[in-house]
């Protein structure tokens, strides 16, 4: 049994302008100690997916499907039981480190509040300091007493990581680790999360638009487009031999591979194209692509593509 199993998860939002389908029938699994990456552009629904897994979506969200954490169904749990999971069994490192820390409270307070055991304050403080040191802070007591605005973006992120893993959760969800940070910090960011992945019994589910990060961090990669998973495979498979036209186009768009932009724009999630969601921008679209909505096909164990004309 895998650590996390997601079964046909769908998330829609009720907006005054209509219903927006952010996540459509997504299914996947994450094994113990595995690092799984979800790759996709902004607005493809990947952050919504993560937030849905910890059940912190806004009130106008409609969720269906099933999510199993080691056999326990998450979506029907009571809120109190869910609170006991968050931060303890399931860790979360949010995006935008600059705004994910409360500016009025000291860093230390925001770390120790996450510690779940009923220890004395001094013990919690010590535990926080140890963790801070582990993640590269040479003088953790200074950080402990500091306020968020005194730290650089990279440091803020590491603080959030510490707060997220302090209870040694089995599964850590990471939302856009390089967003909001200077691109030159990318290598550093990867190091930090590799450190997290090395923690015993810790699986990572990392969502990003940054292909380079996922390439170096993840064992398996899932590509997401317009709320759906369109390609699944090992990191090597997906990046060296991409099958779905979207993945191919994504890689062509990278500077080191030619920087050819994908024509058109991402579809509006309230007004999706008919048939295959990618067909208006696809370089090998046929007439049937605008009619039939393709399903995820299994090519080989662990290798899936949502395109009947994917090249083999």
């Amino acid at each position: 049994m895998s650590l996390l199993t997601v079964d046909a998860l769908s998330v829609s939002f009720r907006m005054p302008s209509g219903t927006v389908k952010a996540v459509r029938e997504v299914s996947f699994a994450v094994g113990e100690n595995e690092v799984v990456g979800i790759l996709g552009e902004s607005g493809c629904g990947k952050s919504v997916l993560l937030t849905a897994l910890v059940r912190l979506l806004p009130s106008n969200a409609l969720v269906s499907g099933k999510v199993f954490l080691r056999g326990e169904e998450l979506l029907t749990l009571s809120e109190r039981k869910m609170e006991r999971l968050r931060g303890k069994k399931v860790g979360f490192v949010p995006q935008n480190p600059g705004t994910s820390l409360n500016p009025l409270l000291r860093i230390g307070s925001q770390i120790t509040e996450a510690i779940s055991t009923s220890l004395r304050r001094s013990h919690k403080r010590a535990q926080a300091m140890v963790s801070l040191q582990q993640f590269g802070f040479g003088e953790p007591w200074v950080i402990f007493r500091a306020y968020p605005h005194m730290l650089s973006g990279g440091m803020q992120q590491r603080v959030l990581v510490v707060a997220g893993i302090i209870n040694q959760p089995r599964l850590v969800m990471v939302d856009e680790p390089t967003k909001g940070l200077d691109p030159s910090l990318r290598a550093r960011v990867v190091e930090v999360f590799q450190e997290v992945a090395r923690l015993p019994n810790t699986a990572l589910l990392c969502v990003s638009h940054d292909y380079l990060v996922l390439q170096r961090l993840a064992h398996r990669v899932m590509v997401m487009y317009a709320g759906e998973l369109v390609e699944i495979g090992s990191t090597k498979e997906v990046f060296h031999t991409p099958l779905h036209p979207y993945t191919v186009s994504l890689l062509w768009a990278l500077p080191e591979r030619g920087m050819r932009p994908i024509p058109g724009t991402s579809p509006s999630l309230s007004n999706l194209p008919s048939g295959c969601s990618f067909h208006p921008r696809c370089f090998q679209a046929r007439s049937s692509c605008s009619v039939d909505h393709p399903s995820l096909q299994r090519i080989s164990p662990g290798r899936w593509v949502r395109c009947p004309y994917a090249r083999f």
Binding site: T51, V54, L56, E79, E83, R84, L85, R86, G87, K88, F92, P94, Q95, N96, T99, S100, L101, N102, P103, L104, L105, Q110, E113, A114, S116, V142, I143, A146, Y147, H149, M150, L151, S152, M155, L160, A163, G164, N167
Partner: protein, 303 residues
């Protein structure tokens, strides 16, 4: 800040220029009882230095004020400073009580409304508060006096004695601003709740209430705090009406009586005293804000 204080003194001083007719004549003639002769008027002027240029008079007056001499009341002939000093504590007590009441219902109500936002309760409260805010203070006061004071005899309705005397006036004085605080806090809390750090805190496992109290409230409260100076001033400004209705022996009531009696020195002193007090309170609020918001304080950047 000092400039403002100076400005207030100038305004208070110039108030005298607004008096119709020659104030000296009025003073000497005991308000029309008899007509002083030009000679008496001239003597009076010279004696009190009223024939000097305005500039000089201003500084002499300022000197007097700083030494604590605010003149004598026309009506009671006692020193104005003494009259005000006797009554100011009562006014401050009432203002404090009213303000405490306002803060209490404002904070509780604001948190409550933010939690239940969007529900029927929220909309109902919004309508009710709009209605309430449109009722004149004295209307509310009379209603409360009638119901709680006379019909059901729960609280006394006039004078100052036990703590029970304080209740009704404080409620009337503070309720308007309490509602403003409530609405402002609610709006701010809702806005704060949309911030990233709220999501981050929830993801760390904190319960909804804990997040509301520990993370949302301080941030929402800070912007409400900046309005406190204004509200305190408003409560002070409402004191004349409230004190008169409840026969509360404070400075506000004295002000109204000064108007009836056209007691100029008293009026001038009031402008000064209320103005200075108000500015002092705003400075106090600024200081509090400085302490509460770490981003305003100097703090070194950690590398």
């Amino acid at each position: 800040m000092v400039l403002t204080l100076l400005g207030i003194t100038v305004v208070a001083f110039l108030l005298r220029e607004a008096i119709p007719g020659d104030p000296v004549e009025i003073l000497l003639g005991k308000e029309g009882l008899f007509q002083p002769s030009p000679e008496e008027v001239r003597l009076f002027r010279t004696r009190f230095g009223l024939d000097r240029p305005l500039f000089v008079q201003y500084f002499r007056w300022l000197g007097d004020v700083l030494r604590g001499d605010l003149g004598r009341s026309f009506v009671t002939k006692r020193p104005v400073a003494q009259e005000i000093r006797e009554r100011l504590p009562a006014t401050l007590l009432l203002a404090l009580a009213g303000f405490s009441f306002a803060v209490l219902i404002g904070l509780l109500g604001g948190v409550f409304l933010a939690f239940w936002s969007g529900s029927i309760v929220d909309h109902l409260v919004r309508v009710v508060t709009l209605l309430f805010r449109s009722m004149p203070t004295f209307f509310v006061a009379v209603v409360l006096i009638t119901l709680l004071g006379e019909r059901w005899r729960v609280f006394p309705t006039s004078g100052m004695g036990s703590w029970r005397h304080l209740v009704l006036p404080a409620v009337v004085s503070g309720s308007g601003f309490g509602i403003l605080i409530m609405r402002l806090l609610r709006t701010n809390l809702l806005q704060v709740l949309g911030n990233d750090y709220i999501l981050a805190a929830r993801a760390r496992g904190l319960s909804a209430w804990k997040v509301l109290l520990k993370h949302a409230f301080p941030n929402g409260f800070v912007s409400v705090l900046t309005m406190f100076g204004l509200y305190l001033g408003g409560i002070l400004g409402g004191s004349p009406v409230v004190e008169t209705i409840f026969a509360w022996p404070g400075a506000g009531r004295l002000l109204v009586q000064a108007i009836y009696g056209r007691d100029f020195p008293l009026l001038q002193a009031f402008v000064l005293v209320f103005g200075v007090t108000y500015v002092a309170m705003q400075m106090l609020v600024d200081v509090c804000y400085f302490f509460l918001n770490p981003q305003v304080r100097p703090g070194k950047r950690i590398v």
